[in-house]
Structures are given as C-alpha cells and as structure tokens.
C-alpha cells in the first residue's frame, strides 16, 4: 500500500510540476467559469440595441425606458449607429432601434417621426420587432389623441396629449404561464453556478486524459521496467499509476469546487454529495486515462485524441450547454456519457436541493463507468507494461 501511494504521489507531483499543466489545471478553468458567467450568466434575454440620434429629449428617453421595461428583453444603448448595426449583423443583438434626430420635436410640434428597426433577415429578429412595434403604438397613443382633439378644436395639442396620457387603458393584456418550468430552476442559480459544475466535469475529465501522456512517457522512458526490476509487483505498479492519475483528477475537481466556492460564491449544494460525485467521477476520468495510456505509444497522438474526446464528450454530456435545452434525441445520447450523470448529480444537489440519497443512481452509473474503464485498462496495461 505504501508503494502504491509512493508511485501515485510521484505521478501526481510530476504532472503538477509541469508549468503548463499548472496553467490548465488552476488558471484556465477559472477563466472559463468567469467568462461563461459573464456571457451566459445574465440569462437568455433577447437583446435590442438602441441609438438615439441627436440630442435625447424626454420623450425619447421615455421610449427607451418603455422598451427596457418589457419583460425578457434587455436594451443596449449605442452612441455609434455603425456599431449598433455591426452588433445586429454579427448577432450580438437581435435588432437595433434608431430614434431619429428631432424625435421629441416632431412629436411635440405635430410632425411625424420614423423609428427605424434594423434586423437580420431571420425569424428571431422579426419576432423581436413585434416588441418594438408595441412600444411604438403605446408611445404614439397620447400624441394621436392630442392631435385628434386639437383637430376637433376641443383643446390644444399640449393639453389634450397630457390628458390622454393619463387616461387609463381600457383594453389590457394579461398573462400567466403554463407548464412545469425547467428554467425556473436556473433562475435561482447564481451567475456562475451552472458554469462551475459544467467546467468542473469538463476539466476533471480533460485533465485526466492529458495525464495519459505521462503514462505513455513512463512506458517509453523505461521507468516502468525499472520499477518492475525492483521488488514491486506489476499489480502494485498499476495501482500506483492509477493512484497518480486519480490524484490529478481529484486535485482538479476539488480545486474547481473550492476555488469557485471562494471566488464566485458558487453554491455546490450538499457538500457530502458534491464530494462524492467528485470522488466517483475522478475514477471515471482515471479509468479513461489509463485506457488511453495503454492503447497509445505516442503521447502526441494521445494528446490530440484526448482533446477530441475530452471536449467532445463534454459537449454531448451537457457540460457546454444545459442538457435541458437539447433536442430529445440528443438528451438520450447524452445519457451514454459519464459527464451527463455527474452534471445531473450536481443539478440534483444544487437546483433541487437533493442529498446523497437522491444522487445514488448517478453515483451508481458513474461507478459502473469507472469499473468498466479501469478493468479494461488494467487488463491492457498488464499486457503492455511487461512487454
């Protein structure tokens, strides 16, 4: 047992001594959590750009505020119309509204103002247009009423407009929602919570696979032979190598968990359950790394494949976008990845306040993955190590 831990420690230390590994284990995941938090943490609201040409009068401000007050839409103001257009074209916003120069003047003096809506020729943008249209209708109402009244001679434009603005609406739109929300769960999540559990799973697995390069080097450098020449059984060496890989996976997992807890105040739910997922998922990553290390004799090839598998499984398993918004077939396919079960476990703990008992099925499936991978890997490695 002491030997196993000795080999394991050497392997973990060797991996973490490499400066680039330190970057990918300790710095990069935090950068991703931060950036994805900024990119997605504010939700999936439609975004509309607004540019007010010329001086902005009170009516123009009122227009923008009304647009901003609509639910599920966020307004981004632009001073430069070209930038607003560019943002629309590149999909940063779903549309751009320009209030013309002299907007207030036109409305007060009886003229007309043309509000411009610029959008990409796609359906999402056209739907957003309806929101703008509603604001246009609403904003025009008191002015139209004022002009009508002025035309009848019953009152002045200013007086009538002011009066009309205060008239309560007779026809209103009420709304309520239907269905069990999947997203409601997300609403309560902190800005970084979703990203943190996704990145934890993604990086634990990816970094484990990167560790397979070391195993290959160990084989290539003949260190394995040297170890075999000491009074150490091949079983012990195998367990030691496994322990080394596991050490790396756990370092990565616990680091992201504790790091995001401290830096971003990420909620991980029941700590025992969360740590249990890390412990078992670490074994899955370890098994995958050992298998890869046994199948390849060129660490650069293994590296390339590791990136493909690590990122690919993460995408399929829901570590890049919430599984709940996947099409149904993809949701089914996701269940074949260990990532899905780990992320689902975290979701249970965090979003549904689950405990250890609730995630037992997840832990079971993950343990199954780990058992299969580790068994196949050690069978292969027994053969190649002594070859």
């Amino acid at each position: 047992m002491r030997k196993i831990l000795a080999i394991g420690r050497v392997n973990t230390v060797r991996f973490l001594r490499e400066k680039s590994n330190i970057f990918f284990v300790f710095v990069f995941p935090m950068m991703i959590v931060l950036l994805t938090g900024i990119a997605f943490g504010s939700g999936f609201d439609a975004k509309v750009g607004v540019h007010v040409a010329g001086d902005e009068g009170p009516l123009a401000t009122q227009f923008v505020t009304a647009l901003d007050d609509l639910a599920d839409i966020s307004v981004i103001r632009y001073d430069d119309p070209d930038r607003m257009l560019d943002a629309v074209q590149r999909g940063y916003t779903d549309g751009g509204v320009t209030l013309p120069e002299g907007y207030d003047e036109a409305l007060v003096s009886g003229g007309t103002a043309q509000v411009e809506f610029v959008s990409r020729p796609d359906q999402g943008a056209l739907l957003v247009r309806e929101l703008v249209l509603e604001v246009v209708t609403d904003q025009a109402r008191p002015v139209t009423a004022g002009r009508f009244v002025e035309g009848t001679g019953a009152g002045s434009l200013d007086e009538a407009s002011a009066f009309a603005a205060a008239v309560p609406e007779t026809v209103t739109v009420k709304s309520r929602s239907a269905g069990d929300s999947l997203f409601e769960e997300f609403v309560d999540l902190g800005q970084f919570d979703l990203g943190a559990s996704q990145q934890l799973v993604l990086f634990m697995f990816l970094i484990s696979l990167a560790g397979s390069a070391e195993l290959i080097q160990t084989r290539k450098l003949g260190v394995a032979r040297r170890m075999l020449s000491t009074p150490t059984s091949s079983r012990t060496i195998l367990l030691g190598e496994t322990a080394g890989r596991y050490g790396v996976a756990l370092t990565q997992g616990l680091y992201i968990m504790i790091g995001t807890l401290l830096i971003f105040q990420v909620d991980w739910g029941d700590p025992i359950g969360a740590i249990a997922i890390v412990l078992v998922f670490g074994l899955v990553g370890t098994g995958a790394a050992m298998l890869m290390g046994s199948l390849f004799s060129n660490d650069q090839q293994a590296g390339g494949l590791g990136v493909l598998i690590g990122l690919g499984l993460a995408a399929i398993g829901g570590a890049m976008a919430p599984i709940e918004i996947f099409p149904e077939t993809m949701q089914t396919i996701a269940k074949f990845t260990p990532h899905y079960w780990a992320i689902d476990g975290f979701a249970e703990l965090v979003r549904r306040d689950g405990t250890m008992v609730d995630i037992l099925p997840n832990l079971g499936v993950l343990a199954g993955f780990a058992a299969v991978l580790l068994t196949v890997a050690s069978w292969r490695l027994q053969k190649v190590l002594t070859r």
Partner: protein
C-alpha cells in the same frame, strides 16, 4: 532556397510518419466541429425557428374576429409563426404547458361587447414557462391591438372631457373614423441588415479550425528547438547552407502544414457538415492570414523558449487563451473591456472576416479582417526575428 525546401520535405516526411499531425490538424478539429454543431447547433440557431401560437376564441364576437383575422392571421401568412386554433382554456393550458405552442391568446367571453362599449376588457396570453421571450412576443402582439383600441378610447375620452360634450354614440361613431384618420405620429420603418452571423456548422468548423491551426503550426517552427535538442542542429549549421535557410525551411514546414490542414478542414467541413465558408478566394485570403498569425506567435514562443517541450506547452496555453477570448468556444461580448480584449485576438477577426463573407460579399469582404489577422502575425513574427537567432546556433 533549395536548402529550405529540403528541410521542409524532410520535416514533412517525419511529421507524416509520426501521424500526430493528422490527429491535431484534421481529426480533432473536424470531430469537434461535428460534435459541437450537432449538439450545440440546434440551440443557438435563430435563423429558422419553428414558432407556433395557439388561439382560443371564447368570445366569438366581432372584435375577437378582428384580432384573429386582422392581427394574427397576416403574421401567420407572413410565415412569422403558425396559428393553432384551440377549443378551450384547459386545452390551451395543456398544450402550451407541454411546449407544443410557445403561447396561446385567449379572448374571453364578452370581450367584443366590452370593447365595443368602451368597457375594460383584456386578452389573456398564456405563455409556456420556458419560452419567456416568445411569450413576450405574444404579449406585444396583443398589446399592439390593445394599443390601437386604447388610442381610440383615449382620444374620445379626452375629447369628451375637454369639450364637455355628453357621451352620445351617435356623435362618437363618426369621430372614431377621424381618430383613425390622424396621421400616425410615429411609424416603424424596417431596414434589413445583411446577416454576418455564421450558421452553427460554419461557426464551429471555423472556430475549431482556427483553434487547432495555432497548435498544428508547432510542427514546423518548433522543430528548430527539437533540432537543437537532438544535436542535429549542429549538423545543419555545419552544412554548406545559410542559417536563414534553416529558419526559412522550418517556417515553410509550418506554413505548408498549416495551410494544408486548413484547406482540408475547409473542404471537409463543407462536404461533411454543410459549412458555408463563403467566397472561396476570400476564404483563402483569410486562411492565409490565419496561418501567418499562427506562425507569428509560434516564432515568438520558439524564440523565447528553452526546450521544445516548454515551447509546445506555451503555445498550447496561448492557443487556448486566444481562442477563448476570440470567441471560438462561446460568444464573447463585443463591448467593454472583454470585447476590446477579444478584438485583439486574430481568432475574433478571423471569425469576423468569415461573418463579413457570409453577407455574400465577394473577396473584398475578407479584407479588413484578413489585414488585421495578417498584421498580427507580421508584428509578432517580426518581434521574434530579433531573438530567433539564438535558437539557430550550436
């Protein structure tokens, strides 16, 4: 020049024999592009949404018919969404709740009468809980109708209040026509902007291609450090060739590998994933600029690193960080500090360049972006030239 070509050919032979290059240069980026566009593509695509709204007419009166025929149906006919007539509120709740429709308009009994009498009335929008944006769209569509009715009501109410007349249907009726005849003070004019958004397949193909390009160029320039490590550099230096030709040979290797892998990726993703890269010449120019940028960074890293391992690690770090900032993994905001940082990366500009080409523009669309990308490579590569000499020595 002959010596440089010889070195390149030798390097290529070694790389092909090693086979890692196929994994890094082709299989990994192609595989990831395929997975990402398959898994994440459906989520981010806003080009062709399949939106439908339900409508329940419990009223059966004129105003309800007006709303359905004059407001909803034209939008249905325009193809903006489809209308699903439903029988009851219960049905609406169920089908909306299941997500079969994004939201349902419900016109309650007595709606037309109330509207006709200027009495309070309301349209109910039942929204699917997970379609907040499209529910809001439904509310806004109903809101536009309500706004028009309210405009008439507010106009007449104001008229009565200011003129002191008694409300008399006979006198008010013609006034409705007058209200409707007022020139609308505000109109919405539409203008269409050519989309510079890439389809999911194109985006992920391009993003993975540019990410991995920065890794595959290693297989050339970094060879300078490898030759030093395994002492063959001494042999190259002793041979009757110039030092510049050694550097040039390695640069050529990077260039050929980078260009070849990019060409394969462009063609492969077009055929296999349906990526639309845009004007071929424009794409070629962008790709060329991308290769130059990747080589520039690689030269800097090689010039400053001590061992090939160190250089390889440093290059991967830079490649992943630039790709992340450049929006190759997930969209990074165009505004703020982050946006500014993003626009320093060649990755962001490479993707923007493709966006410019996506408007259907010809080769000229590639230029502003390609110039920046190439400039990035020329500047970084130029800095490296002051130090690269230290690598080409025994």
């Amino acid at each position: 020049m002959r010596a440089a070509a010889l070195i390149m050919l030798k390097d290529l032979r070694q790389r092909v024999r090693d086979r890692s290059i196929f994994l890094w240069g082709i299989i990994a980026p192609l595989g990831l592009a395929a997975i990402f566009s398959l898994v994440l593509g459906g989520i981010t695509d806003t080009q062709n949404l399949d939106i439908s709204y339900g409508v329940v007419d419990e009223d059966g009166g004129a105003q309800a018919a007006l709303f359905i025929e004059e407001v909803l149906e034209p939008l249905n006919d325009e193809g903006l969404f489809t209308i699903e007539p439903m029988g009851s509120e219960a049905e609406a709740d169920q089908r909306t709740g299941d997500g079969e429709v994004e939201a349902t308009f419900l016109l309650p009994a007595g709606f037309s009468d109330a509207v006709g009498a200027g009495q309070p009335a309301s349209i109910l929008v039942i929204g699917n809980v997970d379609s907040p944006t499209f529910s809001q769209v439904a509310r806004s569509i109903a809101g536009q109708y309500a706004g028009q009715v309210n405009t008439i009501n507010a106009s007449l109410f104001t008229y009565l209040a200011l003129s002191g007349e008694a409300p008399d249907p006979a006198t008010l009726e013609p006034l409705v026509g007058e209200v409707l005849a007022v020139t609308p003070p505000l109109t919405l004019v539409d203008s269409e902007a050519a989309s510079k958004q890439l389809s999911a397949a194109t985006f992920y193909s391009a993003a993975m291609a540019i990410l991995f390009l920065f890794l595959t160029v290693q297989f050339g320039v970094l060879g300078l450090l490898e030759e030093r490590q395994n002492e063959t550099m001494r042999r190259l230096l002793a041979a009757p060739i110039s030092r510049r030709s050694i550097i040039f040979g390695k640069a050529l290797t990077s260039f050929v590998i980078g260009l070849a892998s990019m060409a394969i990726l462009v063609i492969g993703t077009t055929l296999l994933l349906g990526a639309e890269w845009g004007d071929p010449l424009g794409v070629a120019i962008l790709v060329l600029a991308g290769v130059i940028a990747a080589m520039g960074i690689m030269f800097v890293v090689t010039a400053f690193a001590k061992t090939p391992e160190q250089a390889g690690n440093l290059q991967s770090i830079i490649a992943f960080v630039l790709a992340m900032l450049g929006g190759a993994f997930f969209p990074v905001a165009a505004e703020g500090i982050l946006g500014r940082l993003s626009l320093l990366t060649p990755h962001a500009w490479f993707l923007r360049g493709l966006g410019d080409l996506a408007t259907g523009s010809g080769v000229e669309g590639a230029f502003p972006a390609a110039l920046y990308v190439a400039l990035f490579g020329i500047v970084t590569g130029g800095i490296a030239q002051f130090r690269i000499g230290r690598v080409v020595r025994p």
